[in-house]
Structure formats: structure tokens, C-alpha cells
């Protein structure tokens, strides 16, 4: 797979959809393409976060550690961007990501990410937009959950 294909993959990611192709190419060139085998972990809950990953091909499970072992809480697939929270706000990894099949990723190190955002503010704005959307999404789901709980309590 050459860098041109990676740029194509990046274009399909909402976070980078509005960014100039030449910037995406620089990001692809500066990042490491990393292939995980089925069952390999991208990172583990509680680790210090040093990089985010863009999934170019393949599927991954998101799991959290519980007393009964790992619990899969979500799935990620092609064109998803994972692990950005830990590099944005310096918290330990909040979940474990495991490759479900052979998984091709672009590893964006913290340094690279901040360099890109700093040099290309349009990227920063885009990151903000995506995070805000996620927050909005999370909030509405929280509201739903509260309502559901209240209904459950009322009944």
C-alpha cells in the first residue's frame, strides 16, 4: 500500500474531510503505518497515551476491564479515529483496543498531532467540530439513559 492510498483513506475520515490533500499527504508521510495481527492490542486501558490511530482497514474491539474480565463495549472499523482522548488531555487510556482481524492503522504520535494542529489551524477547528459532535452525541445519549432510568424508577 502506498502513501497515495493512505491519503485516500484519510480523506474518507470525517475529521479530515475538509483538509487539503497535500496536508493529509504530509501527515501520512510523517506518520507510521502499523499493522496489527488479530488479537494484538493497540493499547491497554490505563497505559499512558502517546499516539492516536487511524484505522485504514480491518476491525477492532473496544473493551474495558471489569472484575469479570474484559468487556467489549463497542466496535471500530475502517476510517475510525481512536485514542485521541488520551493524547488531547493527558489522561491514561480509558479503554483497551484489540485488533479483531488484521488491522492496518496509521499511528499519529502526540507530537505529530499537535504539530499538525498548530501549523494548520483548519485541522484544529475540524478536531473541535468532531469532538463537539461527539459530546453532543454523548450528552443526548446520557439524557436518553437518564430518561430511561427515570421511567424505570417510575414504573
Amino acid at each position: 500500500m502506498s502513501i497515495e492510498q493512505e491519503v485516500e483513506a484519510l480523506k474518507n475520515i470525517p475529521l479530515f474531510a475538509n483538509i487539503e490533500p497535500s496536508r493529509l499527504k504530509l501527515m501520512a508521510f510523517a506518520s507510521e503505518r502499523l499493522v496489527f495481527k488479530q488479537g494484538q492490542e493497540l493499547f491497554h486501558q490505563g497505559d499512558a497515551g502517546d499516539a492516536a490511530y487511524i484505522l485504514i482497514d480491518g476491525d477492532a474491539d473496544v473493551s474495558v476491564d471489569t472484575d469479570d474480565g474484559a468487556l467489549v463495549v463497542a466496535n471500530f472499523g475502517k476510517n475510525d479515529f481512536v485514542g485521541e482522548i488520551a493524547i488531547l488531555c493527558d489522561v491514561p487510556r480509558t479503554a483497551t483496543i484489540t485488533a479483531k482481524s488484521e488491522l492496518i492503522t496509521l499511528k499519529i504520535t502526540k507530537e505529530l498531532f499537535f504539530n499538525m494542529v498548530m501549523d494548520f489551524p483548519e485541522m484544529g477547528v475540524e478536531v473541535m467540530r468532531v469532538l463537539a459532535q461527539r459530546l453532543e452525541h454523548t450528552t443526548s445519549r446520557l439524557t436518553e439513559a437518564r430518561n430511561a432510568l427515570r421511567e424505570k424508577g417510575a414504573s
Binding site: K25, L26, A30, V35, D119
Partner: protein, 905 residues
């Protein structure tokens, strides 16, 4: 040290000085004869009127007493000579002139050589003595001096002494004799004129030294300022980080400039005064003939003096100024070196210099230390009257393990230093087994005791040499590695003895392995591994070993084992399904995980000409690339890379870190390549200049397809690269067979590291955790094959760099501790030796060291009081006193100082 240079010279070289003097005296008559002879050749053999008669003869080798006629009124003939006719006389005189020239030449040669040898010998002695003193400096003094200054003294400041010493006695005697002869001669002629000449000389002798006094003071200042300059320059180098990070370069420039200004004015004043003295000297010398002409002329006119006598006096006076002038010059030189000597000597007599008897070379280690360490009334006061230690009274068994704790200013560091006999007490004493430590020779304190401070020094040698450094106490055997002529050895020996140097050879066998508990070489590695494990350094040395190289010729067994590991690794990776992590070097294929350069050379360069970018300028490579028709493909790769770089990096600020990290082209060169790319886009490759082509062709050599992913390594590039590889190898084998060690699946590569040899390929890019997995697998494999100790053995050859700078601070301390542990000391003193280690590591280290010392003693001054829990006995210090002592369990209770120290951490 002798305070006066002349006493020093006389004491150590009187025999040689007298010998040279005698030789000079013997040479004198020949010298005077050779001066006289040319006159005889002209006057007698060539133009003498006697020879108008061809049968006439004149005496040859007739010898008259010099000044005989003037003194006795008639010539005094000592030898009548042979009577010869004109031509034979000419021949005889010329031949004797020739032989005199020869004789004088030989005399001069021999005398100068002797003087030179004498000077060099004295220089060697002096330098040795000064270095010997450095070795005996008390450590607190050593901390205060600037290394560069002390090095300048030994290297440069004493150097002129060597040149002077040969002339120290010969010159004044010789010149003085000459001057005296002329003086006496004048005196004999005329008492009064003699008195005049003498008084002028006396005025010179009185006045000049007084004028010189200031010059001497200036000379002293010149030396001091120059030395301080050397010290400052060394500081600029040592403090480079601080200077640049604080942007104080301009302040430093100003500081240096002011120093140079001061040095300039001192030197300039010296010149002014020197030449004034010279002027005065010349003037005085010319005043004498003036008086002679005036006074002598008057005496002749008034008939009190014969004209012949006046001429003779004037002729004799001609001989007086040159030796006087030379004497004055000699005196100036004497003053100069005398100052240098005194200045240097003064710096090398610090208070508390260790007596040389204490360090006398001794073969025996001395008796084991037993009994008790008794510290009584021990005090240490520094030069500012600060009480660093205040009447300390404690005792403990030599074999105990003891912790000393306290705050930074508690004085525990000094107590540690004093226990190791590195600092002498101002009052009181430290006794071990009833013997005062200060009276014990270094053969005991340096071998039975061992000390590690908190910033231990490592020598720029291998790990092994540093580890065994403490066992080099005495030359065990003088078996120098290379065979040398026994006569040569004897010569060097006698020369060393003559100049007061030691005759021990550093190339002999010094390391006393038995002390380390190593009875023969087979136990060496296991003992080393044992000690390295104690200080937690074994893993590090193992890593050094993996990145180290081994020459298969000298260590065939290691090479063989590593080759075995290479095969085993391949199989093992297959078994665990990870064979895709390593892309092996295959002579038949292009390795996309390696650079184009590596694919072309397909080997490890042995010569620097073939390493890095140097390779690209080698004609041999260019020929191979040309022949394989690879030029054009490389050029195309270059264009693609340039195009991508221009696209990606244009618009980034030139200082952006991406340039450094990712770009093939520096920010400065980017515009040039932009132009080249535009030109190519417009009119193709044909329009490029040769310089453009060169620039483009350099780009692809570091290109790794798997990493950079630009899709440039096409089937054509692969095929042609393989062809070029074969051509290059053939050329190299015939033209420069030692230049490159080629990759060969079945052979050990002596130029590559052990790790590269095992791997024999490149880690695949883009495989998650490839490096970690491979590292772990290799370690497991080497353990399984029993090769770990071999790797460690290679790691022991790792050079630690100047001051150990190639190791981390923690590694340095660990190696220093291992260096002390391996000596099996009766009493080991660690003076905050592990302070750079984190608590967890210290908690592991301390029990390991205690266990290693067994029933031998250990005193450890700790930075963290809590760690005292590991020790039998604890001393707590405050303000230079011991305030608590006892077992940790007793002292770590409420209300105790130790408890509060622990709580404060």
C-alpha cells in the same frame, strides 16, 4: 620541592654539568686556533714576502702564547714547528683548517647533544615529580583546582626549563671566563683604564637587574594571566550547555576580551622595558671606548702612555662586550625560568600533601582489617573555620554494616571521606583494629578499604578495564605483549632511574584477579556477571554486547555460536508465526526494508570511505551503477522524491521540526529543488545540468520503500540494483578487499554488531511491536543457547567514553560500585554512591550489596533515611555531630531524629 631552580638543577645534574663544562674547556683551544688560522693562511702562505724566494721556508704549527708579546714584552714560542716551502705550507695550513673545522663541528655536536639530553632528562624528572605530586594532592584540594591550569603548568610552563638547564652552569662559567680574561688583560695594560672598564661593567651589573625587577614582576603576572586564560577557555568548553542555554556568549566574549586586553598590556609593557634595558646596555658598552679614546688619547698626547699599549687595550676591549652581553641575556633567561619554576613549584605544594612513603609501591596488600573501627574526638575544620565535623565518638566492628543518615549539611559526606582516609582529620582520629588510619599506607587503605563517592569518575576505557581498575595496584609480571629488544628495555630502565621515574611498565600484567576471587580465566565472566548483577548492571552490559562487534578471527567460538543463534532465530520465528517481523538479507533479492544504499553495498563498511554519504562519491560505486544502467532509474527516483518533498514541505517554516525528522531535503535546499522539479516538469530530464543530476541522485540512497511508501522501488529498480550489487562486489573484491564485509547467510560478519548478525536482516516496518518481540525472542534464545555470558563478554569491551559520558549517570555509578565490590574489600564505603538511583532501585541494590559483602564491612551514607532499615547499625548526624546511634528498630520510634528525617522525605 626545592624552592630554587638552581639548587634543584645542581642537586640532580651536577655530574653531567661538570662533565659538559670540562668538555667545553677542552674544546676551547681548538676553537681559538680555528679563528687564528685564516689569518695565517693569508699572511703567511699566500701573500708573505718571504716567498719571493721559492726555496724559502716558514714554520708550520709554530705555537705562541696568546697575548705573550703584550704581557712579557716579547713573543713566547711554545713550539718551533716544521719548516715548509710555500705550496706545501698552503696545503698544510688549509688541511689543518679543514680538520679544525671538523673537530670543532664534532665538539659542538657532542656538547649540544649532551646539553639537550641533560635538559630533557631534567624536564622529564620535573614533570614526573609534578605529576607525582598531583597523585598525592589531598582530595579536598583537588576539588578546588582547575584541571586546565594544572595541565598547562606541566605541559607548557616547565617546557622552557628544559632548554635552559643545559646552559645553566656552562654558559656563565664560559662567558664569565672570557670576560674575566679580557678584563685582566686590560688591567695589566693600564690600571686606570682597567678600572674605568670595570666600573662601567659594575654599573651595568648594578643597574640592569634593578631595571629588570619590574620586568620580573610583569613576567610573573604574564604567567598567571595566561594560566587563568587557559582555565577560562576550558570552562567555556565545559560550560557550553549553560552558556548557550542562557545566551551568555556575549558576556563570555566580553570577559575573554578583557582578559586578553590585560595580557596585552602586560606583554606590551614587558617589551617596552626589555628594549629600554637593551638600549641602556648598548649605550654603556659604547661609553667605555669613548672614555678610552678620550682618556687614553690624552695620556698618549701628554706622553704618559705609549700608543701601542692603547691599541692593545682597545683590541682587548673589543672582546669584552660580547660575553658581557651574552651573560646579561643568560641572566634574563635565568630570571624567566626561575619565575616559571617558582610559580609552578608553589602550586604543587598544597597544605596536607600526602607523604610519598604512604604511596610507596608495595606488592603486598597488607593484613586484613579486623577488630573495630574506632572514631574518637574526630573533628574537621575547613579553611574558613567552619566545623564540618564536631568531636565525633563512635565505634563499630569492621565487619558490620552501618548506615549513616542525616540532612545535606550534617557532615555525613565528610565522615565517609575520612573513613576512607581521603580527608585528614583536623583533630582526633579514626583507628581500625587499633591502628590510626592516617598512619596506614595506601597499600592498605586503597586495597583493603574501598570507596565510592556520589559522582564517581570512570576512565575513558572499556567497561572491563574500568571494572578491574581497582585491581591494578602493583605490577605482577613484566610480560609486555609485544617482544622488545632486551637492550632497549634496559636502556629505558636506566633512563627512568636516572630521572627519578618509576621503572614499572604500564604494559606489564597489573590486574590481580586473585583478589577478585578469580583463580583462573574460566571463572572471570561468571564472577563479573555476579558482580554486575549485584549492582543491577548486567542487563545494560548485555545490551552493549548485542550492539558490539567481535572479530571472527580472534573469537571464532563466539562467531560460531552467534551464527547458530541466527539459524535458531529464524526457526523460532517460524514456530511462533512471526517470521514476517524480520526481512532477511537475501543476495538474490531487494530488501524493501533497507535503504537503497544498503541494497547496493549489501554489506557492512569497514573503511570510512564506504560509510554513509562517502560511499556515493566513490568512483567504484559510480562505475557499478553506470554499468548496471541504474543511473537513470536512480535519477527518476530522485525526481520523485524531490517532487514529493517540495509538495509536502513548501510553506512550512524553515525551523519546523518536520524538516529535521522527515524531510530528505533541508529547508535551505528546498527552493533549489523546487526549481529543478519545475524544470523537469517543463522539459524533461534532458535539460538538467550535471550538478542538478548529482543533487537528485543523492536523494534516493536513504530511501526505504517500506518506511517512506512512495512506491519508487519498481521491478526495474530491483533488478538493476541487484545487477549493480554483483558488479560492485566483484570490483571491491579485486580492488579493495578489506573495504566491506559482505552479507553472507552462512558467515559471521565481523564488522556488524552481534544483534545484526543474529537478525541478519531488517526489522519489518509497520509491524506492531516488532522491535519488542524480536528483542525478547533474541534474549530468550541466547539464554537458551547459553550465549548470554558470551554477549556480556563482548559488552565488557564497550568504551565508556571520556568521563564515562557514553553511560548514563545511573550506569556510571553502578559501574563504579561494581569496581569497588569486585575488590572484595574488608570495609566498603559508599558515600551517597547510589543517590542518583530511584528509591526502588536502591531498595534492591542495598540488600544485594550487603549480601555480597557477607562478613566484610559496609558503611553507607544514605540520602534517604528510610533506607537505613536494611542495616544492622544506624548513625544519625546533625550539624557535624552524631546525635543518635543504634538499631533501626530502636531509632525509628516516635520522638527520635531518625523518625523525623524519615517523615520529612
Amino acid at each position: 620541592m626545592e624552592p630554587e631552580l638552581f639548587k634543584y638543577i645542581w642537586r640532580h645534574s651536577r655530574k653531567d654539568q661538570i662533565g659538559i663544562l670540562i668538555l667545553v674547556l677542552i674544546s676551547m683551544p681548538f676553537y681559538f686556533l680555528s679563528l687564528d688560522l685564516p689569518k695565517s693562511i693569508i699572511n703567511k702562505a699566500v701573500s708573505s714576502e718571504v716567498f719571493s724566494d721559492p726555496a724559502a721556508t716558514l714554520p708550520f704549527m709554530q705555537f705562541e702564547l696568546p697575548y705573550g708579546e703584550a704581557i712579557f714584552g716579547h713573543p713566547v714560542t711554545l713550539f718551533e714547528g716544521f719548516m715548509l716551502t710555500q705550496l706545501p705550507l698552503l696545503l698544510a695550513l688549509c688541511l689543518s683548517f679543514l680538520s679544525l673545522v671538523l673537530i670543532n663541528g664534532v665538539f659542538k655536536f657532542v656538547i649540544n647533544t649532551l646539553k639537550g639530553r641533560l635538559g630533557e632528562r631534567m624536564l622529564r624528572r620535573l614533570r614526573y615529580e609534578l605529576t607525582d605530586r598531583i597523585l598525592r594532592f589531598p582530595v579536598l584540594h583537588s576539588r578546588k583546582i582547575k584541571q586546565a591550569e594544572i595541565a598547562t603548568m606541566i605541559k607548557d610552563e616547565v617546557e622552557p626549563l628544559g632548554g635552559f638547564i643545559g646552559d645553566a652552569f656552562v654558559t656563565p662559567v664560559f662567558l664569565g671566563g672570557q670576560a674575566l680574561t679580557a678584563m685582566i688583560f686590560i688591567m695589566v695594560q693600564s690600571w686606570w683604564l682597567g678600572l674605568v672598564a670595570m666600573s662601567i661593567v659594575l654599573v651595568q651589573a648594578f643597574l640592569i637587574p634593578r631595571l629588570r625587577k619590574r620586568i620580573l614582576t610583569l613576567g610573573r603576572q604574564r604567567q598567571m594571566t595566561a594560566r587563568a586564560l587557559a582555565g577560562r577557555v576550558a570552562e567555556l568548553v565545559e560550560g557550553a550547555i549553560e552558556i548557550q542555554s542562557h545566551d551568555t556568549t556575549n558576556y563570555e566574549r566580553a570577559e575573554i576580551s578583557s582578559r586578553l586586553g590585560k595580557i596585552f598590556s602586560i606583554r606590551y609593557e614587558i617589551y617596552q622595558r626589555k628594549f629600554f634595558v637593551k638600549f641602556l646596555n648598548n649605550l654603556l658598552a659604547q661609553v667605555t671606548p669613548f672614555i678610552f679614546y678620550l682618556g687614553g688619547g690624552y695620556l698618549v698626547i701628554t706622553g704618559q702612555f705609549e700608543i701601542g699599549t692603547l691599541v692593545a687595550v682597545l683590541a682587548a676591549y673589543k672582546d669584552l662586550p660580547p660575553p658581557v652581553k651574552d651573560l646579561i641575556n643568560w641572566d634574563q633567561q635565568r630570571n624567566d625560568v626561575q619565575i616559571k619554576y617558582e610559580q609552578v613549584a608553589e602550586q604543587f605544594q598544597p597544605h596536607g600533601l600526602i607523604l610519598s612513603e604512604m604511596q610507596q609501591a608495595e606488592k603486598e596488600r597488607g593484613d586484613p582489617l579486623t577488630g573495630k573501627v574506632e572514631i574518637s574526638n574526630l573533628s574537621l575544620v575547613d579553611e574558613n573555620e567552619n566545623r564540618l565535623l564536631d568531636t565525633i565518638n563512635v565505634s563499630f566492628g569492621v565487619g558490620q554494616n552501618v548506615a549513616i543518615v542525616g540532612n545535606a549539611g550534617s557532615g555525613k559526606e565528610y565522615l565517609g571521606l575520612m573513613l576512607a582516609n581521603l580527608v585528614q582529620p583536623s583533630n582526633g582520629s579514626v583507628k581500625i583494629g587499633g591502628k590510626p588510619l592516617v598512619k596506614l599506607p595506601s597499600a592498605i587503605t586503597g586495597r583493603r578499604l574501598s570507596y565510592v563517592g556520589q559522582d564517581a569518575y570512570l576512565f575513558p576505557l572499556s567497561v572491563r578495564d574500568n571494572l578491574f581498575y581497582g585491581l591494578r595496584n602493583w605490577m605482577l609480571n613484566d610480560n609486555t605483549a609485544e617482544p622488545i629488544d632486551p637492550k632497549e628495555i634496559e636502556r629505558e630502565r636506566s633512563e627512568a632511574l636516572r630521572t627519578g621515574n618509576t621503572v614499572l611498565s604500564p604494559n606489564g600484567e597489573w590486574i590481580d584477579y586473585k583478589v577478585a576471587g578469580i583463580a583462573d580465566q574460566t571463572q572471570l565472566i561468571s564472577r563479573v556477571v555476579d558482580v554486575l548483577q549485584k549492582v543491577d548492571l548486567e542487563e545494560d552490559v548485555y545490551r552493549f554486547g548485542l550492539s558490539g562487534t567481535v572479530d571472527a578471527e580472534y573469537r571464532p567460538e563466539i562467531a560460531e555460536s552467534i551464527l547458530g543463534a541466527r539459524i535458531a532465530l529464524k526457526e523460532h520465528l517460524k514456530v511462533i508465526g512471526a517470521e514476517d517481523l524480520v526481512i532477511a538479507f537475501d543476495p538474490e533479492s531487494y530488501n524493501k526494508n533497507a535503504t537503497l544504499r544498503e541494497n547496493l553495498l549489501f554489506g557492512t563498511p569497514r573503511k570510512n570511505d564506504y560509510a554513509g554519504d562517502n560511499l556515493l562519491s566513490m568512483p567504484i560505486l559510480r562505475e557499478a551503477v553506470q554499468k548496471a544502467e541504474l543511473r537513470e532509474p536512480i535519477l527518476n527516483m530522485g525526481v520523485s522524491i524531490a517532487r514529493t518533498m517540495v509538495e509536502l514541505f513548501t510553506g512550512l517554516p524553515p525551523t519546523h521540526p518536520f524538516f529535521e525528522q522527515f524531510s530528505f531535503i533541508s529547508a535551505d535546499d528546498l527552493p533549489d529543488f523546487d526549481k529543478i522539479v519545475k524544470r523537469v516538469d517543463k522539459s524533461g530530464l534532458s535539460d538538467l545540468t550535471e550538478a542538478d543530476r548529482q543533487a537528485l541522485m543523492y536523494l534516493p540512497f536513504d530511501y526505504v520503500e517500506a518506511r517512506h511508501r512512495l512506491g519508487l522501488v519498481t521491478e526495474e529498480v530491483e533488478r538493476k540494483t541487484l545487477a549493480a550489487r554483483v558488479i560492485l562486489a566483484e570490483k571491491l573484491v579485486t580492488k579493495d578487499p578489506d573495504a566491506v564485509e559482505f552479507y553472507d547467510p552462512d558467515r559471521f560478519n565481523s564488522a556488524a554488531s552481534l544483534q545484526d548478525n543474529i537478525l541478519f536482516g531488517r526489522l519489518a516496518y509497520g509491524r506492531a511491536e516488532a522491535a519488542e518481540t524480536i528483542g525478547r525472542v533474541i534474549t530468550e534464545l541466547l539464554d537458551e543457547l547459553g550465549l548470554r555470558s558470551d554477549v556480556i563478554e563482548v559488552g565488557l569491551d564497550y568504551n565508556v567514553g571520556v568521563g564515562g559520558k557514553r553511560l548514563s549517570g545511573v550506569q556510571r555509578q553502578k559501574l563504579a560500585m561494581a569496581r569497588s565490590l569486585i575488590k572484595n574489600p574488608d570495609l566498603l564505603i559508599f558515600n551517597e554512591a547510589a543517590a542518583v538511583l530511584d528509591s526502588q532501585s536502591q531498595n534492591r541494590l542495598i540488600p544485594a550489596v550487603i549480601q555480597s559483602q557477607g562478613d566484610r564491612g559496609l558503611v553507607w551514607t544514605l540520602q534517604r533515611a528510610e533506607l537505613a532499615a536494611h542495616f544492622d547499625q544506624v548513625f544519625v548526624m546533625q550539624n557535624g555531630r552524631i546525635v543518635e546511634s543504634g538499631a533501626y528498630s530502636e531509632l525509628s520510634t516516635k520522638g527520635k531524629v531518625l523518625k523525623s528525617l524519615i517523615a520529612a522525605e
